[in-house]
């Protein structure tokens, strides 16, 4: 009797080991998030509650912006259709919880990549789609031309739950200036409060200032000060623990940037299949088996370029042509004097 039990246990144990092993290897190739996304038929993407140029909805509910385009690229790569995205507008306060709790699968919401966010709270940043820095906006009539002219008692309007809140403390503290932070949950409320004269200055990322300025009652009466007080690399974020999904999002973004580098855009992508340059051929799926590495077909990157366009197209469409930041500044390719530089897709 005892012998039988012993044998039985060893058999069970063997199966258990086998089973554990097999799930382990399965997990390496399969992404739970990708599976669920395919089953659901759309990508769940968290965006801002309205930041022109980054993620903004028009009257009919169509989302546009460079943050939106990252999610569209992922939808094009995984589902074959860039329109199959469900956008969830989130406040700065809600965004990480929405991602970690599994309500969304990508957070593409002008979110700054920092050590504590990356390491502490179950998130993984996959790259940078906009290099930004924090600045201040003041009324032109105030005559303030530099942040060094701020005086004790300045009231500052800003958003809740952002790196902005921390940077401005560093900034004012290091200069020994006392200030009154007035923090709102929604960007629109910040703009309204600043517009009404509740605050002397409005601080957030400079791109945000440029975009929000258009919402003020008299945009021309306001000016963004030249100083940049922080580094704000903004990029898409995914949940920690699904490395395949993480790779899909990372390389969807990288594909857009690399496509611009090699001059591949939405209109010439199909023709590029016959290019002499193997790097370009890999980029449009005509050479190599790049998609297989994360369980996608070989046209995944071609679809991104055809349906969403390369990074330059996205920037032009969303940020330059809308008059928010016509000058690309650091967000130019490394080959053209900027700092956009992505690892090679090979």
């Amino acid at each position: 009797m005892f012998k039988i039990i012993k044998q039985l246990t060893s058999v069970v144990a063997m199966f258990a080991v086998l089973f554990a092993f097999s799930t382990e290897t399965m997990a390496a190739k399969k992404s739970k998030t990708l599976e669920n996304t395919k089953k659901r038929g759309f990508v769940r993407c968290g965006v801002s509650q309205g930041l022109p140029g980054f993620s903004n909805a028009d009257e009919s509910g169509n989302w546009t912006g460079i943050d939106v385009d990252v999610c569209r690229a992922v939808a094009a790569a995984t589902l074959g259709d860039a329109t199959k995205v469900k956008f969830t507008p989130l406040s700065a306060k809600e965004r990480f919880t929405a991602l970690t709790s599994g309500e969304i699968d990508i957070l593409s919401r002008n979110t700054t990549w920092t050590l504590s966010r990356d390491a502490d709270i179950g998130l993984t940043f996959v790259g940078v789609n906009f290099y930004d820095g924090q600045g201040f906006m003041v009324r032109k009539g105030s005559g303030i031309a530099s942040t060094s002219e701020f005086k004790n008692g300045t009231s500052v309007c800003t958003n809740l739950g952002t790196t902005t809140e921390l940077n401005m403390r560093d900034f004012f503290d290091s200069r020994g200036i006392s200030y009154e932070p007035v923090v709102f949950e929604k960007a629109d409320e910040v703009v309204a409060a600043y517009d009404a004269g509740r605050c002397d200055t409005y601080t957030t990322d400079k791109s945000g200032l440029a975009a929000q300025r258009t919402k003020l009652s008299a945009p021309d009466d306001h000016v963004v000060l030249p100083e940049t007080i922080s580094k704000e690399p903004l990029g898409p974020v995914v949940r920690q623990g699904d490395s395949v999904w993480e790779d899909i999002v990372r390389w969807s973004l990288n594909t857009m940037i690399e496509a611009e580098e090699y001059g591949v855009n939405s209109s010439n992508a199909d023709m590029m299949k016959t290019s002499n340059n193997p790097a370009i051929k890999r980029l449009v799926g005509a050479e190599g088996e790049l998609g297989a590495a994360f369980g996608l077909d070989n046209d995944w990157n071609l679809r991104i370029i055809k349906q969403v366009g390369n990074y330059g197209e996205s920037y032009k469409r969303n940020i330059a042509d809308t008059g928010i930041l016509p000058d690309r500044g650091p967000n130019e390719l490394w080959t053209k004097g900027g700092i956009l530089y992505v690892p090679p897709a090979r």
Partner: protein
């Protein structure tokens, strides 16, 4: 034996059920957090918060800990609740009594007031006061002085600050006045019960309350000066008042909305309480020769309060919990500072939300305990 099983089995099962559910929830949360690489722990409370808060009752800066930021938020919540409870009580009693007035105009205005403020959602009222009413106020440099020394501006209400010398002497005198009033009352009650003599306790009490602190000014070396708010230029076109105390518009809007809204419910409680005392009581009291004031104070109110207190307690609890809507208008209460900024900066959602929930629970239970104690005190004691 059978009886014991019958008695305890359902209870044991119920406890088991609760324990199992909590156990399941804990394990579930644990697994999900492990899967997502989130640690659980309260160590963050001692870390440097590195953010500032607009308005704080205690010394606080970004180099203080998250625990202190929690305290700042908690005190701000208590402050706004405390002020609003006082205002809503005063207003509620006035409106409640006015609804019972025999004057047609007073009675109907009070009824309209109640129906109006009670039936508009609180959040909307907060938005109205903050975004419509207070935003329309003038900029600091254009503000007119109210009462000569206070300024109502879009950046807040600036009032003079009191600068005390020997404040403790003044406070001791105030305490002495209160103690002597209690002694006097007991003496007067005793006198009334044993000899049937009445002395004007109220008059003496007021006199004591004024004279004793006044003496501290004359002989105790206490002095009080006012620091007036002074206009200061920040830039060519922006100004601010310095010196004095500034009450942020967020606080004012919140107090206005909370006290106006809750006062309607308190008014209805007061009305219900007074109407709940049967008419016969009033007539009987009048027939033994009590004056109308005495009837109200000695016969009606003691009975009405028994009906008023329990539902009013509920309103106080509601008000305190409703104060969490502060986050909508940038008033740095517990929710905005701790469950907002601190949560965002640390990412400790489960820890912070549970601390916040427990804190509100504690505040509510404390208010309930105080009101229950008061209710016990005023309930009719059978002799």
């Amino acid at each position: 034996m059978n009886n014991i099983i019958k008695k305890f089995l359902p209870q044991i099962l119920a406890i088991l059920f609760v324990v199992l559910i909590f156990g399941f929830l804990t394990i579930n949360a644990q697994t999900n957090m492990d899967n997502r690489g989130i640690d659980f722990g309260f160590g963050f409370l001692s870390q440097e918060s590195s953010f500032d808060v607009q308005f704080s009752l205690i010394e606080y800066s970004g180099s203080d800990s998250y625990a202190r930021a929690f305290l700042v938020g908690l005190l701000n919540t208590l402050l706004v609740s405390f002020i609003s409870i006082i205002f809503c009580t005063i207003l509620g009693v006035i409106i409640g009594v006015a609804r019972l007035s025999s004057n047609y105009l007073i009675k109907n205005s009070a009824a309209w007031y109640v129906e109006f403020f009670r039936n508009i959602p609180l959040l909307l009222q907060i938005f109205f006061w903050y975004y419509a009413a207070l935003r329309a106020l003038p900029l600091p440099e254009k503000a007119n002085a109210w009462f000569g020394v206070t300024y109502m501006t879009v950046k807040g209400y600036y009032i003079p600050a009191m600068v005390w010398e020997n404040l403790n002497v003044f406070l001791y005198c105030g305490l002495a006045a209160i103690i002597s009033i209690i002694v006097l009352r007991n003496y007067a009650n005793n006198l009334r019960d044993t000899q049937g003599k009445q002395i004007p306790v109220l008059l003496y009490s007021i006199a004591l309350l004024i004279i004793l602190p006044l003496l501290s000014f004359l002989f105790g070396g206490v002095s009080l000066e006012f620091e007036l708010p002074q206009l200061k230029k920040l830039s060519k076109i922006s100004y601010i008042y310095e010196g004095g105390i500034s009450l942020p518009p967020e606080l004012i809007a919140l107090v206005l909305a909370l006290s106006l809204y809750t006062s309607t419910f308190v008014a209805e409680c007061v009305r219900a309480g007074i109407e709940g005392v049967s008419k016969g009581q009033k007539e009987a009291a009048a027939s033994v020769g009590l004056t109308p004031n005495q009837v109200l104070k000695l016969v009606i109110m003691p009975q009405a309060l028994r009906i008023i207190i329990p539902p009013t307690t509920n309103q106080y609890l509601n008000l305190t919990k409703n104060s969490s809507l502060a986050a909508a208008i940038a008033y740095p209460d517990l929710v905005l500072v701790f469950a907002g900024t601190a949560l965002m900066q640390t990412g400790k959602a489960i820890e912070i939300v549970s601390i916040t929930m427990l804190t509100y629970l504690t505040i509510s239970l404390t208010i309930a305990a105080i009101m229950n104690w008061y209710n016990k005190k005023i309930e009719i004691k059978e002799k």
